[in-house]
Symmetry: C2
């Protein structure tokens, strides 16, 4: 992953990309405001994920998804796997594989549901919990670094706008 960054030559900056788009699509009837909003969400998300993978996750052996899954299990204390998949934003089939990986590291543990034998529960092992306790503050510190250029109001506005987008898509998901 670092490779992508070491190769950045600066040929195409954010600004010049937007210029190229303007050149190429200037004639068409497009919603450019929507386009920039959406494409910058995606671009920021990629940049943030890369940054956090390089800093906090670098030496832990955890992937981004592995961390997110553990985070969800940690926050919700318990967890039925279908909720974990939903919260982590991955398909249930994917979760099966991720849990297999995390189990091999002894960070999580699968257990049968007490009454429903279809279901599977996941918990953090002591070592998994220890990891989250040390990792999460570091993670949050880097999150603060990520938004360092935004003042408090802008951070809140940003979060609020994105919440609107997510809620709009969730409500429209299954009409």
């Amino acid at each position: 992953m670092r490779e992508r960054h070491t190769e950045m030559t600066g040929h195409h900056t954010l600004r010049s990309t937007e210029e190229a788009v303007g050149d190429r699509l200037g004639g068409l009837n497009l919603d450019f405001e929507a386009m920039w909003a959406v494409s910058n969400i995606y671009r920021a998300s990629t940049a943030i994920r890369n940054h956090l993978e390089q800093t906090v996750l670098r030496d832990t052996g955890l992937t981004w998804t592995g961390f997110v899954v553990m985070w969800v299990v940690w926050i919700w204390e318990e967890s039925e796997t279908r909720h974990v998949a939903e919260e982590a934003g991955i398909a249930k089939g994917t979760l099966t594989g991720v849990l297999k990986t995390l189990e091999s590291y002894r960070y999580v543990q699968r257990m049968p549901h007490p009454t429903d034998r279809r279901r599977v529960m996941v918990t953090l092992t002591p070592s998994g919990e220890r990891l989250m306790r040390t990792l999460f503050p570091q993670f949050n510190q880097e999150e603060a670094f990520v938004v360092r250029e935004l003042d408090s109001e802008r951070r809140r506005t940003l979060a609020a706008s994105l919440r609107l987008v997510v809620q709009h898509l969730e409500s429209a998901g299954r009409p």
Copy 2:
């Protein structure tokens, strides 16, 4: 991918996740504003990608990354692969595989660089170009749908804030 959505039971909404986090982490010294800003960027990005995959990309046989790569090649008219990888936000090794897939669909074409025999150039085939011309307006229409709940000023503010984040991370990338 649709599967994730059909299974949404609403147990854990965006709001209740934030509550659970508050319960679990209320005692610690964390930057919650940064946390919500960052986590909502990621959440929105996932939701948007899912939405666009389900609507515009659904019947094209294109993956998200395949589309992004074609988009980059289209906007920049032609391209040296290392620039494409950089702009698309993927590693060069990944691009090799993606191009192989796109080439098998006859949407793109690889050609040797005229003077530098290390490099490889990529162009859209006529059929690839035709696809982008019809696909992109649809794509933009869905982008507009995504941000429908935001007024014009909020869209611009959102894009501007995210641009700051990206630029901050890019400039800090290789100190």
